[in-house]
Symmetry: C2
Amino acid sequence: MDLGRLEANAERMAQKASRLGVALRPHVKTHKCVEIGRIQSGGTPGPITVSTLAEARGFAEAGFGDITYAVPLPLPYLPDAAELGRRIRLNLLLDDEATLAPLEAFAKAQRTRFRVFLKVDCGYHRAGVDPRSDGALTLARRLQASPGVEFLGILTHAGQSYACRSRQEAKAVAEQERSVMDQFARRLRQSGIPVGSVSVGSTPTCCAAEGWAGVTEIRPGNYVFFDAFQAAIGSCEAEDALAFSVLATVIGHYPGRNELLLNAGALALSKDPGPVHVDPHCGFGRLYTAEGLPLRHLRLSSLSQEHGLVQGLAVADYARLPVGSCLRVVPNHSCLAAACFDRYVVLKEGAVSEEWRRIGGW
Amino acid sequence: MDLGRLEANAERMAQKASRLGVALRPHVKTHKCVEIGRIQSGGTPGPITVSTLAEARGFAEAGFGDITYAVPLPLPYLPDAAELGRRIRLNLLLDDEATLAPLEAFAKAQRTRFRVFLKVDCGYHRAGVDPRSDGALTLARRLQASPGVEFLGILTHAGQSYACRSRQEAKAVAEQERSVMDQFARRLRQSGIPVGSVSVGSTPTCCAAEGWAGVTEIRPGNYVFFDAFQAAIGSCEAEDALAFSVLATVIGHYPGRNELLLNAGALALSKDPGPVHVDPHCGFGRLYTAEGLPLRHLRLSSLSQEHGLVQGLAVADYARLPVGSCLRVVPNHSCLAAACFDRYVVLKEGAVSEEWRRIGGW
């Protein structure tokens, strides 16, 4: 993990949020590392977003006191969420009456309240209520009136932005994400339902957006590392924004088929297929020398558990990459590849400075 | 992890190996768990295959004393391999003169010897020497004559069997794997190079093979768990061979688009695309009720980091799978999905009996 690149990525997004008048609540699921979380909020623990209760607990222990758990709450986790919610501001997501009823019953029995966002579907069609539906209004009203709930506002994730092929396309999705949420907030307010937070965010839309009128906070995550996917769809403009890579060793030369073998496979890089909609031959990541020079004539064409097979597009440069030498893979999806490891090796100005722990599990 | 199913899978392969006169050296990369390794070798530590030195060290500590590290040796790992090789029989793989020279120099300097297999390409084209080439013979001769090397024999992995669509097709690949190795062993012996072990193995070929003439040992790994991929290509005949599953919680109902949402995504199941060559619509695993009844009308159609989206093929049965309930996913590739966890919950006759640790890292 290249500290200089990461700090620049963090600073760029923080400045954009500040300039456009929204709060930044980074999604730490990308890195799950408290040191990186602190960098993202300017050196001290700030508001964050997490994808697991394990992250929430780990960051809470490190002093982070305002955490949004951005997956619709799995009901078996209610007791753990309540326990953590007594120590910090833990903000939950809900999009279903079927979750609200047991949550209310639990809150009543335990004499507690849950801080809850209404999750909205702005076009991704993964989770969230349809903001044009009657049911969305009914559920918001139920949340607002529930004695077991502190209704925080509305939240969405424009995951459809990952289908974009350029920053221009992502800009249109960002505007869709913003306008859907702004209109839904107005609809709720017109119905007498106060809306505090209007929360949006995905890295492609947060990088491309030019304004967030009506939005109060953004929750990008991947922007702090970026990866081969984000580079291909234009979320980051320069290769020097790519802050996370996997160092692999060349373990074989096969000049007969113009291939090299690496000791990095699916368990070091994940099997994310990458930006195939932009480049069907993208392979499993971008390749660089250990020092960071691009190896554009090589493609990481297939992965098995612990092997990565590299194809030479021109003749592979075996002398430059002898057996036993190292090269860098910037993976397709840094959130998934980083999850293959339990710590980061931190590179500061090209030299290893320290190791930072990741929080795994659920 | 269903203990009864796992024990039956282990027993079936052990009996087949015994019946057909070959040693069984299971590849423990699938589970990386010493308790399971012991079951595979009949209750006591037996010869095993590993994919990382971390596995080798972990199993060595648990009493396994004959371990093949079945990835062409990354040169930076030479000192660690030498250290471990002083304590147990650690068998390395080599397919390249470029690795042999530094290995010999290291052996000489450290006054040690490395136990080495010559890795052979029997048609997978990932690693290994071409057994028809002059270079293969030259390298075998070099290994046999090297003072730093104890030449153990030849080893291959017919990974091309994963492209098979049926047990019938895998049988043909198994015969190819066997005959390539048998012929190469004869060629070496005719050239005056003694060949001890002739080692083959992949789960599809080991399940399909009907004879191993000329082979001394087999190294299947996945057969102890199986998965949706192996079931689709006919490696296991019955669904009750599927010993590994991920228990997930339903976190949303979306009847408008006939979908359910699970809290199991790419970090719990891996993004292995599965047997798309057999069923382009296979999705990311097979779905079952928590009790193990198949849910054939549902498809796990997409995964993000912590979400799994389930499509109803017929109308999804929401009453049977209420929000908060659990279901089981048998993943596409159990070796990759198991690596998402640090331990197994062991089910014995349907009840949780204990937890077994996995060995992660490299």
